[in-house]
Symmetry: C2
Subunit: 342 residues, 2 copies
């Protein structure tokens, strides 16, 4: 497998990006193609033992920053590492693209400039893989589309379900809608309309979930609009940061607590590992014509390596072909429904 | 002051409800009117020293449960403790009503059957008071209205701002919209439309906040629709429960961690107190014609006492009169704007 990795992606680029790429090349025996500033890549690679590894570098003259406006850079920085990397996979020179850079830019560049949408996909979606202990689920959309239509959410459910099956190894994934109550009929207009569509679909639709059930592992695919999904993720991140911040500050407030904290450190590390986003590494952009995995900007080498693992699993699961077929089947279902209603 | 307290509200009623009422009667020297099953109230009061306290009981024949459907019980249980309690304040026999029962039922009974809306209020809102350390803010709507219009959110901002000023003692409260980005222009259609209204209003509108800024204390009033608000609150609750659950389980996993946890216990208690919803006690229903404070169903005596404290502060701040004036001013502003546009 040949995985293209954005060397200029993460907040601390190229350090974790390159280190994670090297670790992945070693662990998975894949060819890794690093894209970015050749001098910076070379300088960083010099810190690693590359013996027996297959690592290449492809130059890209421009960098995208976290503050760049997605639609502006999509057109305005045509030689960015994201543009170059995605073109490589479009041209068949790589099987997947991994970046820990600006998510909105990745989506815009994929959709507008390079890979384009899979035929029939109404809107691509941003996703996140949530992990709580042993449980892993895909939540989408988390920010690509602030205002959605029921048909779009239906397609998100189709794509998410295929991803959960093919890349997460979950047979017949349980699909749910994120809502303000579990009971049928709960939700805003969008959720109620989408519920009707999903109930008639061939998906394993289980109804609504609230955030508690979502984190409790009751669904494999949770569908929402990009506005609600974004605020949901950010609410959980903000509360987690706040709690860990309070714990850190109180546990260093006096000697007794400090000793306790020292003893409990391994336990805390086990807690942290169970909710650590870097353990998952990254999540796919779904609906574009190629495997693109976006990791967290604040990632580390392990996070980048694990994002590359996500990419491998998506490629191995032939996710793009499956979504193409899934969306074609979706369109056929829709056309038949219209026909039936005549 | 005479505070009417629903004795049949909390999950463990009437124990914490009565205990909290007794504690409040002692601490605040108010008259407390307990509403509910007289036998149960008497039996519970017998456990307390009532010397010098002013506590009365008013019978109510029916109880509302957490699984009762709000609109059904609003009409179907006319002798519930919520109906009787709210009628008391409507008839001027009490200054405020406090319940730790079914929030939706409280809203429905207040709006449809007893207190009714303050004139000009388009939709009442459910609120929550978030507390993180020293910081306290009001978030609304958290569930009364799943699908909202910009005008409704504008009114939520007006009512929330008045509450923050009058009952939380915050001069010129900073009003923000909960959104998926802080920058102007971020948000879904509803947020973008509301932003325009708020920018033209006389409120101290500071723009959008994301969950991180909300918890960080950058706003005093955060406005959202009831669907997003409900999921935001539930996401934070779910993550908090998950994290504390993981910490508890890992800290009791081996002897070393257990000893550490024992030493760190006071520190943990300090953390917990800073995010404990019972420290706030309850939050107001805004837009109905009387002070109604709804506490958490899982509350304890301290939570009930603190909910009564919220009620006192709302009464002392003459919140109903202030909202009546605020909404009248809002309508005048709207009418003038229409006039100006002619």
């Amino acid at each position: 497998m040949r995985i293209v990795v954005d060397a200029m992606g993460s907040d601390n680029r190229p350090v974790p990006d390159v280190a994670g790429a090297v670790a992945a090349a070693r662990e998975f025996s894949d060819t890794i193609i690093l894209v970015g500033d050749p001098q910076k890549i070379e300088a960083e690679l010099a810190h690693h033992d590359l013996e027996g590894l297959s690592i290449e570098a492809v130059p890209a003259a421009e960098e995208i920053t976290m503050t760049d406006k997605p639609s502006v850079v999509a057109r305005g920085k045509p030689n960015s590492s994201m543009h170059v990397g995605m073109k490589l996979i479009k041209d068949g020179e790589g099987d997947a693209f991994v970046t820990c850079g600006n998510t909105g830019a990745a989506l815009a560049i994929a959709t507008l400039q390079t890979l384009r949408r899979i035929p029939g996909v109404l809107r691509p979606a941003l996703t996140t893989l949530l992990t709580i202990g042993e449980h892993r689920l895909i939540l989408l959309d988390i920010g690509a589309n602030a205002d959605c239509k029921a048909e779009w959410l239906h397609q998100f459910a189709v794509m998410g379900s295929i991803y959960a099956e093919r890349a997460l190894g979950r047979p017949s994934p349980r699909v749910a809608l994120l809502s303000n109550g579990e009971e049928e009929g709960k939700g805003n207009q969008l959720i109620k309309e989408t519920a009707k569509l999903l109930a008639q679909s061939s998906l394993n639709y289980i109804g609504n979930v609230e955030p508690k059930e979502m984190l409790g592992g009751q669904a494999d695919v949770v569908v929402t609009d990009g506005f609600v999904g974004n605020i949901t993720i950010k609410s959980m991140e903000a509360l987690g940061d706040t709690l860990f911040g309070l714990i850190r500050s109180e546990l260093t407030g006096d000697l007794r607590s400090k000793v306790g904290a020292l003893l409990a450190k391994p336990a805390f590390r086990r807690v942290y590992r169970q909710v650590d986003p870097f353990e998952v590494g990254g999540a796919p952009l779904l609906g574009v014509n190629g495997v693109v995995i976006v990791g967290h900007g604040r990632t580390n080498a392990v996070g980048v390596k694990n994002a590359i693992r996500q990419a491998r699993q998506a490629v191995a699961g032939q996710i793009i072909e499956a979504i193409r077929e899934g969306i074609a089947a979706y369109r056929f279902e829709q056309a038949s429904a219209v026909e039936d209603n005549r």
